[in-house]
Amino acid sequence: MEEHHDYDDIPGTTVFDAERSRRGYHLNMFCMSLMKAENRAAFKADEAEFLKRFPMSAEQAEAVLKRDWNRMIELGGNIYFLAKVFSTDGKSFQYTAAQMTGMSQEQYAQMMLSGGRSPDGNRSKSEWKNRG
C-alpha cells in the first residue's frame, strides 16, 4: 500500500524518501558502481550485460538503457546517483535537466539565464491540471 505524503502534491517532483530509496536500492547501487573506471568501461562495452550484475527490476534496467531519467526517478532512482550515469555518457546536469523537463538544452539554459523556473504556477499539482 502506498502511503500518501504532503509532498506528493508538488508537481513534477519526486521526493526521494525512505520508501523510494528502498525500491531504488539496486538501481542506485548500479549507478554508484560507475564511480570506478573499470565499471564504466564494462558498462559502455555492453550495457545490458553489465546491468545483469545488479538485481534491479526489468523496468529499471529498461529505463537505464533508454536513458529515461523521469522513469528512473519514478522507479526509485535518485538524481545524485543518476548523475554517475549521465557523467559516464559525458553529459552535464544541465543537459539531463533539459531532457527531464522536455525542453531543448538551449531553451533550458535560456530559462536559467532569465532567472529560472518561477515557483508561481508550480507549487501544487492543482496548478498543473490544465497543462497539456
Partner: protein, 280 residues
C-alpha cells in the same frame, strides 16, 4: 579557549568548481559569480582561521545507500578530494584537525546529538568548492578543516530546528576546547534549486532573498520553516539550506553581516553567500 569568530555561508555548485579548475572564472558567464566572493577573499586574508568547521553534504560519493548518517563528523587527520566519476578535482588534500574533531564529537554526543564519527572519508565538491571559492587555488589549503556531512540526499534531512540546535551544541563544544584556536564555521549548499523531474530549474528569488536577509537578525523565523515548505518553495534540492542553520546556530544571537551576495544562475542553481562577524 577556542572560539568561533565568524560564520560564512555559500552554495557549493559543482559547475563552479569546474569553472575554477578549467580557468573560466573570467568568462562572461562566470565572472559575476566569482566577483561576489572578492570581498570575502580579501577579508579572510586579514582574518585567517586556524580551523574551519565545514558543514556540507556528500552527493552519493563517500556515502552511497549502504550507510546514510544524518550527521557525520570527519575526525581523520586528512581527507582526500574524491573521484566523483571524472577524476578528483585538482585541489589540495584537506588537512583535518583530529583533536578538535574528537573533542566536538565527545562533547555533542554527551549534549544528546548522536552524530556518526568518520575516520576515513573522501570529500566531494560539496566541501572543496567552498574552499576554492574563498581561498582560490593555493598549493595547500591555508587552514585545517573539519568536515561535517549532513544527509540531505534521502528525505527527510534533519529539520531546520534540529540543525540550529546542533549548531548551538557545536558552539558549546568549541568553547570548551582547552587550546586557543581561531575557528570559523561555514554552512554550505543551496540556494533554491531543483535538479530532477519536469519541475527542474526552479529558482525562487523571493524565498532566497528573504532567507539571506533574515538568517543574520532573526534566525528563529527560518528555524520554523518546515520540510514541505523548502521542497515546494526552494525546490527538491533547495532543502540543503537547513545546513546554513547549523552555521547560524553556532553563532551568537547578534551577528553583523559583513558581506552579502546573491546571483542567478550558476548552472541550475541560485548562488547565495554571506559573511557573518560573530564578535559584535
Amino acid at each position: 579557549m577556542a572560539s568561533i569568530y565568524a560564520g560564512l555561508t555559500t552554495s557549493h555548485v559543482p559547475a563552479i568548481g569546474a569553472a575554477i579548475d578549467l580557468g573560466k572564472t573570467r568568462d562572461a558567464y562566470w565572472k559575476p559569480v566569482f566577483d561576489g566572493y572578492d570581498f570575502t577573499k580579501h577579508w579572510i586574508q586579514q582574518h585567517q582561521p586556524e580551523v574551519v568547521i565545514l558543514v556540507y553534504n556528500d552527493h552519493a560519493t563517500a556515502f552511497s545507500l549502504e550507510i546514510i548518517p544524518t550527521f557525520a563528523l570527519g575526525c581523520a587527520e586528512q581527507f582526500a578530494p574524491a573521484d566523483e566519476g571524472w577524476g578528483p578535482r585538482p585541489v589540495p588534500v584537506v588537512q583535518g584537525h583530529a583533536e578538535l574533531a574528537a573533542h566536538i564529537a565527545q562533547s555533542v554526543i554527551l549534549d544528546e546529538f548522536d552524530l556518526t564519527i568518520v575516520n576515513k572519508m573522501d570529500v566531494d565538491h560539496g566541501l572543496t568548492v567552498p574552499l576554492s571559492l574563498v581561498f582560490g587555488q593555493p598549493a595547500a589549503w591555508p587552514c585545517r578543516v573539519i568536515p561535517l556531512a549532513v544527509n540531505v540526499v534521502q528525505y527527510p534531512p534533519p529539520t531546520g530546528n534540529r540543525c540550529f540546535n546542533f549548531g548551538r551544541a557545536i558552539a558549546r563544544a568549541v568553547a570548551s576546547y582547552p587550546q586557543p584556536l581561531r575557528v570559523m564555521i561555514w554552512g554550505t549548499g543551496g540556494m533554491s534549486h531543483q535538479l530532477q523531474g519536469p519541475r527542474a530549474g526552479l529558482i525562487n528569488q523571493d524565498f532566497d532573498n528573504h532567507f539571506l536577509d533574515t538568517i543574520g537578525p532573526d534566525p528563529q523565523a527560518l528555524v520554523r520553516i518546515q520540510p514541505l515548505e523548502y521542497l515546494r518553495e526552494a525546490g527538491s534540492e533547495g532543502i540543503e539550506l537547513v545546513m546554513w542553520l547549523i552555521m547560524r546556530g553556532a553563532l551568537h544571537e547578534r551577528v553583523q553581516v559583513l558581506h552579502r551576495f546573491y546571483h542567478v544562475p550558476a548552472s541550475n542553481t541560485a548562488v547565495g553567500h554571506l559573511l557573518l562577524d560573530n564578535q559584535v
